[in-house]
């Protein structure tokens, strides 16, 4: 782990104690402004923004380590959206809003627009319907990522309608966004067209899932070691240890694949069909890891208090945001076929 990742690991551990995350989820409360200010004050929102704009200008390979730390500590996902999609998109377009986002003064968020749930017309006007977006409190800007375009819009635009959603992943500030006749402030290529900004954000979200899966794995092994049944620890039951082995294999595969994606992005030689594959596999494997973790834990794993559901809600929500397992698999198949 890099020095920076270790620093964030320690800081997020202190700033985001697990019981408080549970309480926020129960009460559907956002992160307190004080905690958010501490995190943005450490430079979180500028991770991927260029140094001349006050960012840290990190390479994707460095960013993904931090995203795994975020996933492990359940950092509100909107902070990844601001840092990895909104800020780099504004930077790419030379937009004046960038400094405010990097400094944490302008809040925002992001959402993913699947094929068919939103379009740009020939005149560059945006129309989307009922897209889920995660927003930090007081958000003024939102980035929308579609396979073929990436847009930043103002939430104050009269064509935008926001409704608070009763979403599975609670306390993430999820809203549904509809927009008609909205002109984006920023328009960039989508990831399927090779757009690096959107791809970097997606790599970050996949790394977040790796971090979460790693945490769940640790909890599961430690539970299986300590929990006794029939007078012996769960680790003496092969049915249980083989679940753990499958989880570990999935985790290592996710880690290898996301690291390779980051490596290829930093080399400038990544390929959208590769990313399309990972948009199916990484969430699907994270989900398998989490579902097995719940099983390994037995009843305690199903309690609110133990909190595996916070990871599960996050995984299911990200998987569903991207279109779900079937759609992302078909999308990967199409990308593969098109790449010839």
């Amino acid at each position: 782990m890099s020095e920076l990742a270790a620093a964030f690991h320690q800081a997020l551990g202190e700033l985001l104690p697990f019981p408080e995350s549970l309480d926020r989820a129960r009460e559907e409360r956002s992160l307190p402004a004080r905690v958010r200010a501490e995190i943005t004050g450490m430079g979180w929102n500028g991770l991927a923004a260029p140094e001349e704009a006050g960012g840290l200008g990190l390479r994707v390979g460095e960013v993904i380590d931090l995203c795994s730390v975020a996933g492990e500590h359940l950092l509100p996902v909107a902070l990844l959206d601001e840092s990895l999609l909104l800020a780099p998109a504004l930077a790419e377009a030379g937009h004046s809003g960038l400094q405010g986002v990097v400094a944490g003064e302008v809040a925002g968020g992001a959402g993913y627009v699947t094929e068919g749930s939103g379009e740009l017309d020939a005149g560059g006007m945006l129309a989307v319907s009922g897209v889920g977006v995660r927003l930090s409190p007081g958000a003024g800007l939102a980035a929308l990522c579609h396979p073929r375009w990436t847009a930043v819009i103002s939430l104050e635009d009269p064509g935008v309608r926001l409704d608070r959603a009763d979403a599975l992943d609670r306390a993430q500030g999820v809203h549904t966004l509809s927009a008609a006749g909205v002109r984006p402030h920023v328009m960039l290529d989508g990831w399927a067209e090779g757009g690096a900004v959107a791809a970097g954000w997606l790599a970050g979200l996949l790394a977040d899932l790796v971090g979460g899966a790693e945490r769940i794995m640790t909890l599961s092994v430690s539970h299986a070691r300590s929990r006794q049944q029939f007078g012996r620890p769960l680790t003496r039951f092969q049915a249980v240890t083989h679940l753990l082995a499958d989880m570990k294999a999935r985790l290592e595969l996710m880690r290898s694949a996301v690291a390779r994606l980051a490596f290829l992005m930093d080399e400038g030689s990544w390929d959208p069909a590769f990313l399309a594959g990972l948009l199916w596999s990484v969430p699907a494997y994270a989900r398998e890891v989490c579902e097995s973790a719940i099983q390994v834990h037995g009843g305690i794993g199903f309690t609110w208090e133990y909190g595996l559901h916070l990871y599960y809600r996050r995984i299911l929500s990200l998987q569903s945001m991207l279109g779900g397992a079937l759609d992302t698999a078909a999308q990967a198949g199409r990308a593969y076929m098109d790449a010839g």
């Binding site: 680790t235 082995a245 990308a335 593969y336 076929m337």
Partner: protein, 370 residues
């Protein structure tokens, strides 16, 4: 990949374009002969032992060069290296643990495929549990005398050398007392009885040893050091091997996509199937590259390659059962390779350590659960 590897890629691509023998014959015996000639030609051209030190007959390049070789071979008609077990498992093990005279004797025939290698580990009562080896060997002067039986020995009848695990001391069930003997398969006292596989091919055999005399000079790593030698070899077994298999599977996926395109395109279920396999192969390749990088750096954790092997079996089986679904009922009405590979895929979760054993290794070595 660095510049040296990219230069190698250019060199290989040009050479293969001029020398590609095309797909090997379907008939088993002819196929083996064609593959042996192919490896000899590759060796002659300087492409075998890329990662081996120069003084061992190699080119002293990184393991990444072997990855380039595997990738470029996959573009040819004949992706398979007949003496792969020697090149990627026993050659490296020999270079780690062998005497200089052994390197001199055995390495050249590994490279040019003039001496094929097989591996004698499994026995009727020692499959996944290697410590169960009962084939006995006793030192008699400057020879070791072997009596016992091995089973599932791949390509036994074609091989010159067998990396044979025998018991020189102790009782079945103990790791101690095992010895690795490089045994000439043409020795007196060896009987090979082929066991036709479900594919109908005589790929593996039972091998019987009746007072077979092997020179003590052919002991690898020392008498009673066989467990350590075997573990070393198994660490090598899965690095390049998984990458090579994954590349072969990529080729099959691309053929499947071609068939789907030719038949007028894919519906959503077929696209999802192809997408899943594509993604899995990318995961497998990423994992194999990571393993190679760790092998190169000497930082590979014991047991780590079990993830690669476990997942290889999963993807292998998923690919051919998905292909059969996508291609439809006609797939069982023609012998065009898909059903062959569907049957063959069931062996992948059994050979070189079953999937269940890989899970036990992951639990024990990677998760530290005893």
């Amino acid at each position: 990949m660095g510049p040296a590897e990219e230069d190698l890629r250019t060199e290989l691509r040009a050479w293969i374009a001029d020398h590609d023998p095309g797909p090997p014959p379907a008939e088993y015996g002819e196929r083996i002969e064609a593959l042996t000639r192919w490896q000899a030609a590759l060796c002659e051209a300087g492409f075998m032992g890329l990662s081996w030190p120069v003084h061992c007959g190699g080119r002293g390049m990184s393991l990444a060069a072997e990855a380039v070789l595997a990738e470029e071979l996959a573009r040819s008609g004949a992706a398979e290296l007949i003496n792969r077990l020697a090149l990627y498992t026993w050659g490296p093990t020999l270079m780690d643990l062998g005497e200089p005279s052994q390197l001199e004797r055995f390495l050249p025939g590994m490279l040019d495929a003039s001496e094929l290698w097989c591996q004698g580990f499994s026995e009727p009562d020692a499959g996944s549990d290697l410590a169960g080896v009962r084939t006995r060997a006793e030192v008699d002067g400057d020879e070791v005398v072997v009596t016992g039986q091995k089973v599932w020995t791949s390509r036994a009848e074609l091989s010159t050398w067998n990396a044979l695990l025998v018991r020189t001391d102790g009782e079945p069930g103990q790791h101690a007392g095992l010895t690795l003997l490089i045994t000439n398969m043409k020795s007196d006292g060896i009987t090979i009885r082929p066991l036709p596989q479900m594919l109908g091919e005589p790929h593996f055999s039972e091998v019987f040893f009746d007072e077979v005399r092997v020179p003590v000079a052919n002991v690898l790593g020392g008498i009673n050091e066989g467990w350590r030698v075997s573990m070393k070899a198994m660490g090598y077994e899965r690095g390049i091997f998984v990458l090579e298999r994954s590349i072969r599977l990529r080729r099959r996926l691309s053929e499947l996509a071609g068939r789907v395109r030719a038949s007028g395109g894919a519906d959503r279920a077929a696209l999802a199937g192809i997408g899943r396999i594509h993604a899995s192969l990318e995961m497998l390749t990423a994992q194999a590259y990571r393993t190679l990088a760790h092998q190169q750096a000497g930082t590979l954790l014991p047991g780590a390659t079990s993830v690669d092997k476990l997942y290889l079996a999963e993807v292998y089986q998923d690919l051919f059962s998905t292909a059969a679904e996508i291609l439809g009922p006609e797939v069982t009405l023609a012998d065009d390779g898909w059903t062959h590979d569907l049957l063959e895929s069931r062996s992948v979760s059994i050979y070189s350590g079953t999937s269940e054993i890989q899970k036990n290794i992951i639990v024990g070595r990677l998760l530290g659960i005893r």
